[in-house]
Every structure is written in structure tokens, then in C-alpha cells.
Symmetry: C2
Subunit: 117 residues, 2 copies
């Protein structure tokens, strides 16, 4: 089974998360819909496997896409409850909601981690 690095602790000076659904509000059909796009699957997989620091910006991914398109995809992932986003000045940074997703949908992140683009 594919695994991933343990989530890093929240830094004490981290800004509050942007609005997101609570753990109990997560819906499987919504989460699966958000993951049904290869770019969004790629975002979640890279955030999951490459967490060398706490939060990542859009720019960290190096996607050759307009920033507005990436912003849209990150927002969709946050609205579905897959990622948590925080505003650091002009930047939004993201990480996967590992604990919430493992609690509600055990095995889902293993599928994402094992995905071959």
C-alpha cells in the first residue's frame, strides 16, 4: 500500500484556515467529484507525497496553467474538503486534510497516492 509522509504540525503563527466544510460535513460524492479531474488529482497527490514544508503555494507545483485556472481548482478542492487553505499575505497555501479524510473515507488517500497520471 502506498503511504505518504506524516502531516507536519500546524505552525503556531499560521493564519486561520479559509472557509471549509467541517469533517462531519464531508460528502463522499463531492470528494470523488473533486478528484475526477486529472489536474486536481495531481494537485492532491503532490501535496500528499511532497509535503516537505507545511503549506504549499500554487507556484510550488510548476504547472503551466493560468493562475486563475489553478485558483479555481484549488478552491474546488477546498470546497469539497480535500485541502485546507490559508492566506499568507498575497499568497494562498494549501495542504491535504489527511486526518479528516482518513477518518471519514479510509483508504481514499491511498488510492490518490497510488494513482499513475
Amino acid at each position: 500500500m502506498t503511504t505518504w509522509p506524516a502531516p507536519l504540525p500546524v505552525p503556531p503563527d499560521a493564519p486561520a484556515p479559509l472557509p471549509e466544510p467541517a469533517r462531519a460535513e464531508l460528502r463522499l460524492e463531492t470528494v470523488l467529484g473533486a478528484l475526477s479531474d486529472p489536474l486536481r488529482l495531481t494537485i492532491v497527490q503532490r501535496l500528499l507525497l511532497g509535503a516537505q514544508e507545511y503549506d504549499h503555494t500554487c507556484g510550488w507545483f510548476g504547472f503551466d496553467r493560468p493562475k486563475s485556472s489553478l485558483t479555481h481548482h484549488f478552491k474546488a478542492l477546498r470546497a469539497a474538503g480535500l485541502i485546507r487553505q490559508r492566506q499568507y499575505g498575497l499568497e494562498r497555501r494549501s495542504h491535504v486534510r489527511v486526518d479528516d479524510l482518513e477518518a471519514r473515507f479510509p483508504g481514499l488517500l491511498a488510492l490518490v497516492a497510488a494513482w499513475t497520471p
Copy 2:
């Protein structure tokens, strides 16, 4: 972990399956997209948990939906590789591709089985 009845063996007189992607062609993003609709999740969950016979017709579900709408959803599930369909005279009957899905996406069907509509 939620489990389901073991798949029944294919009856020797079963018609050939309708066209479908081979196991190696299944794509996670496509499978997740097909499951991102509550009705389609319901179809797969009921086929998975209620397999008292080999194949099930649309009518077995008792959905209050036009037949054309159900035909569309079953076809989408077949095209994504979630179900296998066979034509019995005028009827199409379906079952979940348990072995193929467990081989390619282990844990996915457990999430479907545990889903609360």
C-alpha cells in the same frame, strides 16, 4: 470495514458482456467521476450489497426515475468500468466488476459500501 457478499459465479448460459474497458484500461479519475453522482453511487452500492442473484435489471432498484435516465446512468457506469452489463433479450442486467476494481483500486468499493446516502 464494510464488506459485501462474495460475487456469484457467471452462469454458463450468460450472454457476452456489452463493450467495456479492460481491467488495465480503468482510470481512477474516470471511476471517481462516475461515482460523483448520488444516484450512481446508490446504484453501485445496491448492486454491491444486494447481490442475491447474478445480474440485476434497472427495475430491481425501484427508482422513481424515467427509464431513459436510468439507462444513461447505467451506461456511464459501464463506460467507466464500474459495472458489467449483459443483454438478456430486451433487458440489460448489471453487476459490479468487483475483482477488477479491487485489483486496480483496492479500498474503493469499501468506501462505496460504507457510503451513507
